[in-house]
Each structure stands twice: as structure tokens, then as C-alpha cells.
Symmetry: C2
Subunit: 384 residues, 2 copies
């Protein structure tokens, strides 16, 4: 096991009717900006629950944070915060809204040009407190300190992270998933699955707890994922997916183990250039990354094949091949395409994305920095 430091200070309130606890989870003297996305919360009842819980608070709202939140949109919210002296940000949404709120919270307190937080890693020294009402389980952003924001003008999709923007609390009511469209449910399941894989499928460091926890999340997502699309999907299915998605990226399973993230880095570029959903890119890249890295990841691939997929291990090479196929089949089982051609894209993607990776310094990805630009190109060509 590698040395690590770990803490997760986000207070999780999980279950039915938990949105009402906003009334006590946000200080009564706070001036709250409620930030959300395209407005689905107005038709599915979540907006009303939030408004009802905040009836004793002073609050305003900012709508329109888009999937892959843009710097441009976030800066409009920052203007609003400054104009009205909001001092608490309540994100009501999925990962995009939450990531946007993290940037808004930091940018509102930043002296200088906030774009430099993303472009130059300018240090964040303070941020407004953030709370979350999660409407889409997927990214884990509700209880971590990471954010990814896109610049619409420059086609950049860039991350920043600081404990200052980690949400104070996150409310997770699985019932919010009831009205989610198939595409968003699929995105959530796949995103959580690949987050787990990027922290699990590297090389063994004798970290038995972390491995077993990651395997538990993978098994849960594989068991429950395909069931969540039914109109009458049980509460337990939604609850298990929602809790898995949070646990997949709250720092715990990645503490003390090597991490990969090469699939994410390539995926981010695909989203920035072609506008694919984040999880759509992951489902395309991961199976090819597994195949390309199958020798470097051999031991963990075998462990995955045996413990998670319960495969026949008598022929190890066959088991690895089957494990990769079953991973791709799992993505299909949750209604997720896994090829560039499913989005009308072809071999032209490879050069374009490799150029992006190069521009962003992503010249050697993965736990061994073994995914060179040439390997990324090869992976992308296999993704067609």
C-alpha cells in the first residue's frame, strides 16, 4: 500500500425526503444563490422541494449551467454573486452544475483573472461555501474537491482542485433519478464505473481493502446498472447506483493505490472537440485502453476477471480478452454505445485528439506514463 492522506469532510444526507434538510443544513443568515442547469428541476418537482426547504432563507437563482460547464456561463454567475453579495452557493444538479459551482465559488473570491485558475493553476485562497442537491448520480463531484470547466472559445476542458471548493454537504435522494432520461442514467452508471476502474485497474500494491472496495463498486454497478432504466425501477436499485457513484470518486478507493486516468484525459479531449458526453467518451476509450495496456495491467486484469466477473481462469489470456469484452458488453447493457462511429466519427479523430493532448502536455498518460501520444493515436484508431 502506498502512503496516503485522506479526509472527506462533505456531510452526506442520503435517502428519501432528505432535500427538506436544506432548511437546517444552510445557515439561516446565509444569502443563497441556487444554481442549476437546463431547468428540468422545474418539471420534476425538485425545484419546488428546494424552494420549500429554503422558505426561511434569503435566496436567488442562476439557471443555465450547461453540460460541460463553460467558463463563460460560470462568469455570468460570478457577476450575479458579486452584484447581490451572495455568500452561499447551492448547486442543484449533476456533476456539471456542481463543477460549475465550484468554479463560481472560487472565482467569486479570486483577485485577478479567474481563467488563470484553470489555465495556469493560479492558487485559490478562498471560496464561498457550497452545498449540493444531487440530481444525477455520476461524477462524484458532490463530495470531492475536483472541478472541470470548459472554455467555449478555445476548446479547452481543464480541471482544478482545492479543498476550499469541496461541498459542505450533499443531499442524495435516489428518487431524483425517477424522471431522468435514459441518456443521463447511462452516463451516470458508466461514469461511476470508469472512475472506479481508473483507480483500480493499474498494478497491485497489496492494498486489499481498496481493491475489495473498488470491486464491490464495480459489481454493484454491473448488477444494478441495467435495471435502472425501467419505469418502475426499485428504489434500492437507484440508491445503490447513487451511493456507488459517490463512493467511486470521493477519494477513498484511490487512497494508497496507483491511479491511471488516461481514459479520462483522452475522453476530455473528445468532449472538448466533438461535444460528446463525458461518459460517452469513456465507454469508447476504456475497452481499447484495456486492450492496449493489457500486459502492463495484466495482474489487475486477471484479478478483475476472477473477482468481479467470476470468469474461468484456466486460460489467463482468454480470461483477459473476455474481461475486456464483458466490460464493453456491460456498457451496451446500460444503453451506452462504445464506438466513435456510433457518433458519426472516424479515423480523422486520431490526429485531432492527439494534437489536443500534445497541446495540453498529455504526452505520457497512465500509471506508468506509458501511454505516449503514439499509443493514444493507436487507441483512438481502434475506437473507430
Amino acid at each position: 500500500m502506498l502512503n496516503f492522506s485522506f479526509v472527506n469532510p462533505t456531510h452526506i444526507h442520503f435517502g428519501e425526503q432528505q432535500i427538506s434538510t436544506l432548511a437546517v443544513n444552510i445557515p439561516l443568515d446565509a444569502k443563497v444563490l441556487v444554481v442549476y442547469g437546463g431547468g428540468s428541476i422545474k418539471s420534476n418537482g425538485i425545484y419546488e422541494q428546494v424552494a420549500s426547504a429554503l422558505e426561511k432563507h434569503v435566496w436567488g437563482e442562476f439557471a443555465g449551467v450547461e453540460p460541460n460547464p463553460s467558463y463563460q456561463t460560470c462568469m455570468k454567475a460570478v457577476e450575479l454573486v458579486k452584484a447581490h453579495n451572495y455568500d452561499f452557493i447551492l448547486a442543484v444538479g449533476g456533476g456539471s452544475v456542481i463543477d460549475g459551482c465550484k468554479f463560481i465559488a472560487a472565482a467569486a473570491c479570486f483577485e485577478g483573472e479567474p481563467w488563470e485558475i484553470l489555465s495556469k493553476g493560479a492558487p485559490v485562497e478562498s471560496a464561498l461555501p457550497i452545498g449540493v442537491v444531487l440530481t444525477l448520480p455520476a461524477t462524484g463531484s458532490e463530495s470531492n474537491s475536483f472541478s472541470v470547466v470548459s472554455n467555449l472559445q478555445s476548446n479547452d476542458k481543464l480541471p482544478f482542485a482545492t479543498p476550499l471548493v469541496q461541498p459542505k454537504f450533499a443531499i442524495l435522494d435516489p428518487n431524483v433519478m425517477t424522471t431522468l432520461p435514459t441518456r443521463q442514467l447511462a452516463n451516470g452508471v458508466v461514469d461511476a464505473f470508469v472512475h472506479t476502474m481508473e483507480q483500480y485497474l493499474t498494478y497491485p500494491v497489496d492494498a486489499k481493502v481498496q481493491d475489495r472496495f473498488a470491486e464491490g463498486l464495480l459489481m454493484t454497478l454491473m448488477e444494478e446498472g441495467p435495471k435502472v432504466f425501467a419505469k418502475d425501477a426499485p428504489y434500492a436499485v437507484k440508491a445503490n447506483i447513487m451511493w456507488s457513484a459517490t463512493m467511486a470518486l470521493n477519494g477513498l478507493i484511490g487512497a494508497g493505490v496507483p491511479q491511471d486516468w488516461s481514459t479520462h484525459m483522452i475522453g476530455h479531449e473528445l468532449t472538448a472537440v466533438y461535444g460528446l458526453d463525458h461518459a460517452q467518451t469513456l465507454a469508447i476509450v476504456l475497452p481499447r485502453m484495456m486492450m492496449e495496456q493489457k500486459e502492463a495491467k495484466r495482474e489487475k486484469l486477471l484479478q478483475y476477471a476472477q473477482r468481479v466477473l467470476n470468469l474461468d481462469m484456466s486460460d489467463e489470456d482468454a480470461a483477459i480478452k473476455q474481461a475486456i469484452e464483458k466490460t464493453e458488453a456491460f456498457f451496451h447493457s446500460v444503453q451506452m454505445p462504445t464506438r466513435l462511429r456510433d457518433y458519426g466519427l472516424g479515423e480523422e479523430v486520431a490526429d485531432k485528439i492527439v494534437a489536443q493532448l500534445e497541446r495540453h502536455g498529455m504526452v505520457a498518460l497512465g500509471e506508468h506514463q506509458a501511454v505516449t501520444l503514439e499509443k493514444s493515436r493507436s487507441i483512438l484508431l481502434q475506437c473507430v
Copy 2:
């Protein structure tokens, strides 16, 4: 899955050489009381590492917190805190020292008779901040808000809990286990195992993540526990046990699931009356509790038999019987006796302990409150 709220704000610093981070983990302007137990830290090098890390701090020390920390000893430390205005408590020890420090931290700020925190549940409104250098993985006390303190005069062993006494940080260096005696290592493994079981072996509520995490801890402890006694036990074995013990009682695996704790309640009384180590009592009671409750716990016993122990499930009753036998055999494999007679005790124990349970209001224990005093008596008689 049941509704839950969960947060764990203790910052974990895990790994080799982490004790040196005390230098930055405790504010430089704090006046630190270092609290420890019988003095083994002076012979195994931990005291020196702590002193070296604190060389720029103002600090004093209090030695002699005993296993099952006593109210009487803790109150001596409280006097010292008050006399010298210490404002930070550093626990250097295992669960007993940490539990003692939690009481010291609360009692030092308590107006009135601190015994009432334990005896009457008097509310704790403030406490001194606590840090931990863990020297014995076992209780999980390093990152939770629970404490159990004994009154030597009245044979009471009573719990209290408040987020105010949850450690700010905990330093977990697996190398501290190198010089631990067999008895303490065995205690630690068994304690962590039974903590996990008390949150796992109840009835199913479709909480797949929690179940898989608990199973991961049980498997890790069963795999690594027997290996830890060798003089040259690998670092990874110690690390896996240490991290398992922390995760076993930091609130995570118990969030959203029913909990039992009946084995602990009976065990506490055995310790209070006969002075057995905490884990010794758990290893005696748990197998008999599993047998007594085998119908109420049937579904989870089968899940345990299948997933954790990988037993042949063709005959369910046989699998349950074997699962209980294998649990007891695991205790033996980590050098832990499992019978009252191993400590020179016999049937006389039953009446005495039942009287204690009755006196403390423990008349209906377990997830279904089904363990009546009569059942506790029956369990105790089977423990002989």
C-alpha cells in the same frame, strides 16, 4: 437501503514515517498534552518519534491510561489539563488511550460532575481538540466519535459519543505493529472483525455497497490476520489490517444498514466484571450469538457463507453451521481463545452478567431487540 447521514472529518495520514507530520498537523501555538498508556512507546521508539516531531511545540505528558480506561485515571489527566492550561490532546496509543482522551477532552470543558457524561448522558457542549498517533489497530476510535470509559468503583463500563471528540487527525503508521505482543495483535484483528460483523450480520436491506465493503473487510482480516504474528510479517499485512480496523468503525459500512451490537453489549459486561480484554469477550460471545440468532440472521448468514467464506451452498443449514464454525476457527487462527473456560470461568458467569445487563437497561439487544435477558443467559451458558 435505510436513510442515513454520514461524514467523517478525521484526516488520516497513513504510512511509513507519517508520525513526523505531527509537526504540521498540530497548530504551533497549541499547548499539547501527550497522553499514553503503560509506557511501551518508550521502548519501541514511538515516544522518540513523537518528541522529535513536537520539538517546536510546547507540550507535556500524561502516562498510565490503562486498558479499559478508567474514569479515575482520566480525571487525573483532566486535573493536569486544567492546572497547566493544555489546549490540545494528543493520544499516542490504541483504543483505550484514545477513548480516554475523548473523555479527558470533554471533561476538561465540562461544567459540573463529568461522570454524568457517562452515567446520565449529560450533553457535551465543548471539548479540546484531539489528535491521534495510533499504536494498535483495533477499535477504530482514531476516526470516530465514540468512547467507552469504565468506573473502577462501580464496575460500570459506559459509552458516550459526540462529534466534538472526534479526532482532528489520526496518524496510522503500520510499522508501530512490529513490536506489539501477540495478545494485542490478536485483540486488534478480532475487534475489527467483530465491529464489521455487528454492522453486517443483521438482515438484508438491499445495501449492496455497504455489504460488499463489509465483506471486503472481513475477507481482508481473515486473509491477513493469521500472518501478522510472524516476526518478519510483511509491511503490507500490517497495513491491510490497520486500514481494515479503521474502516471497520468509522461509520461508513454502518451507514444505511441495520446494526446489531448485542455481542458488544454482553462483552462489555464481561470486561467490567471479569477484566477480560474487550476482544477476548467478543470472540467468546459472537459464535454463540450467531448460533442463537441463526434464524433471524439467516439471509445474511447465507450471504456471509457464500461471499466471504466461499462455502458449498447446496445445503443451506449445513452452510450456516459451517460458517459459524469457520468464524470460531478464524479466531483460533489469530491466537484468540473462544470459551469462558479458557479464562477459568464457568456457568456462574451467566447470572452475574445478566444482572449487569438488567442494571444497565440492556434487556432487549440486537437489530430486532430479540436478544432478551433470557436469551443472553442462554448464550452465556453456551459460552462456557
